[in-house]
Symmetry: C2
Subunit: 109 residues, 2 copies
Amino acid sequence: MSVQEHGRINNVSVVCKANVYFDGKVISHTVLHPNGDKQTLGLIQPGEFRFGTELPERMDIIAGACRVRLADADGWTTYGPGAVFHVPAHSHFDIAVDEGLCEYLCSFG
Amino acid sequence: MSVQEHGRINNVSVVCKANVYFDGKVISHTVLHPNGDKQTLGLIQPGEFRFGTELPERMDIIAGACRVRLADADGWTTYGPGAVFHVPAHSHFDIAVDEGLCEYLCSFG
């Protein structure tokens, strides 16, 4: 599902209430597509956070940088703007931001 | 401009890159309407912040609470979920969050 043109997601609905995790250190807004597809557009403050997955997730880094450790990985991989990583369904991943903000777009399914 | 239904903003484009102010203590995502209208959907961490306006702004509080002092006001007014305040064009306002997060939808023009 790639519906970005020029850094925009077009023809969608946005849920006004944000998703707030880890005391506000991770927040996102949910974007809903006419076909039922869902994305979340979010920001991560410095820190290290673990998220579980139900559906497969594709993470696009929009700005900033993060380190990521998948459930089956020994070490961390660093991702910057334009990078993409995938997380399998029914798994988890650790994501860490060392400084500044990391902005991401998460696509499900 | 009221295009919210059931807490959603429909038929819009969303800019992936967030607007980041005050070292990330205030962030928002820009929402663009087919007719050119613009809104920003944002979150404010605890602190006190001053914003200038070019266009008139309507601020809808989505969640949490804030205190607001308009340019011509002596004191602060507290707003909670569902509340709305207006800021004139070419002015400024102080907005303060005492605890938690304040979520807002800002409509311009």
